[in-house]
């Protein structure tokens, strides 16, 4: 069976099940009211794109740094990174956001206009902890013999990292990083709890104003898919490009 046909059948079955469910609910669709709020959806979606991009960059930097620290031979450095990773991964993002905004930002006397900055930072710290473990796994997967070979031909430690270790580690971590980025985009919806006007926040406002719950939230699902599906496709394409068997 060709791949496209398989996808078509799965999607058709899914649509049929959805149509049946909604038909049996006897929904009173009210798309007209929600359409009037399309600007709010559009602005919220763009805000989510911007917040995700900013957090993506920041969390990658945090992740690489923390991964290096996790592998450090200095006990204090390693312990600091380990505590960071475990604390963040072991607590809900919701709690981190509330503490970040109502405790840390408040203690630092930050104004309400800085909630976007705080939101991106908390989200990046959250995602960075997961990235750190992914990157550490990637770096650990490079065989010792590769480092020996790099030293034997006279590469400096930085050259070894840039020419030998990272190009191989990137390929190893790519699928996991892409998965983490998909999570990051969806996790950004929680920023709404500190009143950041992103996609979910705006959709919720539309719902309160129109009392059209599904008409407000179904576009939300579509909007997130519009971001995450291309990302998954890009990741699969990159994976194919970087593919080579371990020698």
């Amino acid at each position: 069976m060709p791949r496209w046909l398989a996808y078509l059948i799965v999607l058709a079955l899914l649509s049929a099940a959805g149509a049946w469910a909604f038909a049996s609910l006897d929904m009173n669709w009210n798309w007209g009211v929600v359409w009037d709020y399309r600007a709010a959806f559009w602005q919220g979606w763009w805000m989510t794109v911007l917040l995700s991009l900013a957090s993506l960059l920041t969390s990658s930097l945090i992740g690489v740094t923390a991964a290096m620290m996790l592998r450090s031979s200095m006990p204090l450095v390693q312990a600091a990174a380990r505590v960071y990773v475990e604390l963040i991964r072991g607590t809900p993002l919701l709690v981190q956001l509330l503490i970040g905004w109502y405790v840390v930002a408040a203690a630092l006397r930050m104004g309400t206009d800085q909630r976007y900055l705080v939101g991106v930072l908390v989200l990046s710290l959250f995602s960075g902890a997961y990235m750190a473990e992914i990157f550490r796994g990637g770096l650990d997967a490079i065989p010792r013999a590769q480092i020996d070979s790099a030293r034997a031909i006279g590469l400096t430690p930085w050259q070894t990292l840039g020419l030998v270790v990272l190009p191989q580690a990137v390929r190893i971590v790519l699928p996991s990083v892409a998965g983490q980025l998909v999570s990051l985009i969806k996790d950004s919806s929680l920023l709404s709890v500190i009143s950041i006007a992103e996609f979910t926040f705006n959709a919720r406002n539309v719902n309160s104003a129109t009392y059209s719950t599904l008409e407000s939230y179904l576009p939300l699902a579509v909007g997130y898919l519009a971001l995450t599906l291309p990302l998954s496709a890009l990741s699969r394409w990159l994976e194919r490009r970087f593919r080579y068997e371990a020698a």
């Binding site: 034997a152 031909i153 590469l155 400096t156 050259q159 080579y244 068997e245 371990a246 020698a247």
Partner: protein, 249 residues
């Protein structure tokens, strides 16, 4: 080359058990003016540890190594300089799997020795041809046979025009047919005058290419002699029983 090793000690600490294992235990050796030195001996006797020190990859706890009267440095910076002037080939996994054979060859020339891409390509063309590897230059290591991988690895060590090569059991991970093609290449190096130190289990091959053979066991040199003398007249019981086992295996 003329190699003098004095009272070499190497220990490895196991951080978990807090015990340290002594791998080289006051090893001393002085060669004549030789082109090739072959190190043989039982597994775990310290051959590979010694080769890593000679290649400038590890620093011994105590003791000294001098080539041509020049002592090996102990600090990493100077050792890196030393490593740039020699070539080392390990048992396996020498090549970088994300690069083609050609890029593996070009990497040290361009990034360590400062050649331009064009100069580097010119430099590797003739040796690739000579060892029948030109047709494989565009392949990634995963597409090469074990023998081809090791020959590319030896070539990569060779094209930087090193003072000498260090070969650590370059055929031990290969099946007999591929072992043959790698040994032929080393044979060729011997005839063309390349200096090398080789760790091997292939006693027949040691006889063919060695000027001197050193037998290393329990972290010391148990016997050391010119090749023919070592193989035919050595009376040390550890050597004779080792030879009996490896030659008739």
């Amino acid at each position: 080359m003329n190699l003098v090793i004095h009272d070499l000690v190497q220990r490895f600490d196991d951080p978990r058990s807090r015990r340290s294992t002594t791998v080289l235990d006051g090893l001393s050796l002085a060669t004549g003016e030789v082109q090739s030195l072959v190190l043989v001996g039982p597994s775990g006797g310290g051959k590979s540890t010694l080769l890593r020190i000679l290649a400038g990859l590890d620093v011994p706890v105590t003791g000294s190594v001098t080539f041509e009267g020049v002592a090996l440095p102990r600090d990493e910076e100077s050792l890196r300089g030393y490593r740039r002037g020699v070539g080392t080939v390990f048992q396996a996994y020498n090549l970088f799997p994300h690069l083609t054979a050609m890029d593996n060859l070009l990497l040290p020339l361009v990034h360590v020795h400062g050649l331009t891409d064009t100069e580097a390509r010119r430099r590797v063309a003739e040796p690739l041809e000579r060892f029948g590897l030109t047709a494989h230059a565009h392949k990634r290591p995963a597409e090469l046979s074990g023998g081809q991988k090791q020959r590319i690895a030896i070539l990569r060590a060779l094209v930087v025009q090193p003072r000498r090569l260090f070969l650590d059991e370059p055929t031990s991970a290969l099946d007999p047919e591929m072992t043959g093609e790698v040994l032929d290449m080393i044979d060729d190096l011997k005839r063309s005058g390349t200096e090398f130190v080789l760790v091997t289990h292939e006693m027949g091959f040691a006889r063919r290419v060695a000027d001197e053979i050193a037998f290393i066991a329990d972290g010391r040199v148990a016997a050391h002699a010119p090749a023919a003398e070592f193989l035919d007249r050595c009376r040390d019981p550890r050597v004779t029983s080792f030879l009996a086992r490896t030659l008739h295996a």
